[in-house]
Symmetry: C2
């Protein structure tokens, strides 16, 4: 059996498909299904079966001929491999509507994200606790991040503050940035950045919807 | 001047880059900068200048030699082109932590998304108004969606309900689905689907962070 090594560099497309398989096997486990083959997964998710077998080969789990994968082992292995079972401390920079919303999204903790603090410059927000998470002044960013061992900084500020927020988080010791602004943040080597520009997804959807209408 | 036709099918990579330019020119406008060249944008966003000129050629705006683009016109054109200035009625299916969070994110309306209702099966949630948006029983989905002229359905349910939610929304007349679950939803032709799997982004970030650590 291959040693499960979560530190191996896994290609992004693989890391983006694995959560699909996880969602599907979690559903099967809920339905008390015991085994699943890559052919089953393929049919359900519309991904090539050989692609699935290849993706799952990064894990230490092996399917059995004619039986397939054990559903609960596969689910556990996927969660583990994706880092969802370890807790990663994160802080939120910018407790506006989206920031506060993320602080209230308890679902994130099921995916290994432990939001431990929020930071803002607005005195009306400092001292509040959306979703039970305390909001501090940005002045306390450095000391709080270090004390809380924050590994990830979530950036939910207006666009004109995004780069500054990133710089401050990095100097406070954060190694990963989850950027929800549409700004292209520049960081030095050794810092990981994930961009989730939900508004870009909206732009794509609007264009496709307009296109539908014009086809009718 | 080219007629601005928002119904033209625009390639997804272009639609994903345009919001970066919009974020940047909004920032320039805030700083009272009057003109910007594609070279300026290129330097700031680390995108090839010729790519920027090509992307912006989809708009009806033209830059002037040696002066560049007029900042406020470019901002307005981008917002317009991306559909952010029109209001698109949307409903949220699943008022759990993420659904309720999105209902409270007033920022979405600045990007043209008008969340008019939420739906849930939980009697404790029905009748509440997170972010001022009413939550109704799923039983009322069809009639409410039609009356509210909901164009977009936002799916924020547990994975085992994602496909059912999609089917119900589509039969209630919704044309676009914004899927926040990691489930691969299957839809018929003529339905637009945008997948925002924020947990997949987390998986990528965790793997890259582990990789950093192992390099040190």
């Amino acid at each position: 059996m291959k040693e499960n090594n979560p530190r191996e560099f896994i290609p992004e497309p693989v890391l983006r498909r694995l959560p699909w398989y996880l969602a599907y096997v979690s559903m099967l486990r809920d339905k008390s299904v015991k085994h699943v083959s890559s052919t089953n997964i393929s049919r359900e998710l519309n991904v090539d079966a050989s692609q699935i077998a290849k993706d799952l080969s990064f894990l230490s789990i092996k399917g059995k001929t004619r039986i397939g994968y054990d559903v609960s082992s596969l689910e556990r292995e996927l969660r583990d491999f994706l880092g969802f079972r370890r807790s990663h401390n994160a802080v939120i920079y910018g407790v506006g509507s989206l920031g506060a919303a993320l602080m209230q999204d308890s679902g994130l903790s099921r995916y290994g994200l432990n939001v431990v603090a929020g930071f803002d410059i607005n005195p009306d927000l400092i001292g509040t606790t959306p979703g039970g998470v305390p909001v501090y002044s940005v002045d306390e960013l450095d000391s709080r991040c270090r004390r809380l061992r924050a590994e990830i900084g979530i950036i939910t500020v207006p666009v004109d503050h995004a780069q500054d927020a990133a710089d401050l988080l990095i100097s406070a010791g954060v190694k990963g940035l989850w950027n929800f602004t549409p700004v292209r943040i520049r960081v030095a080597d050794g810092i990981v950045i994930a961009n989730t520009s939900i508004y870009a997804h909206l732009a794509v959807m609007y264009n496709r919807l307009d296109n539908l209408t014009s086809q009718i």
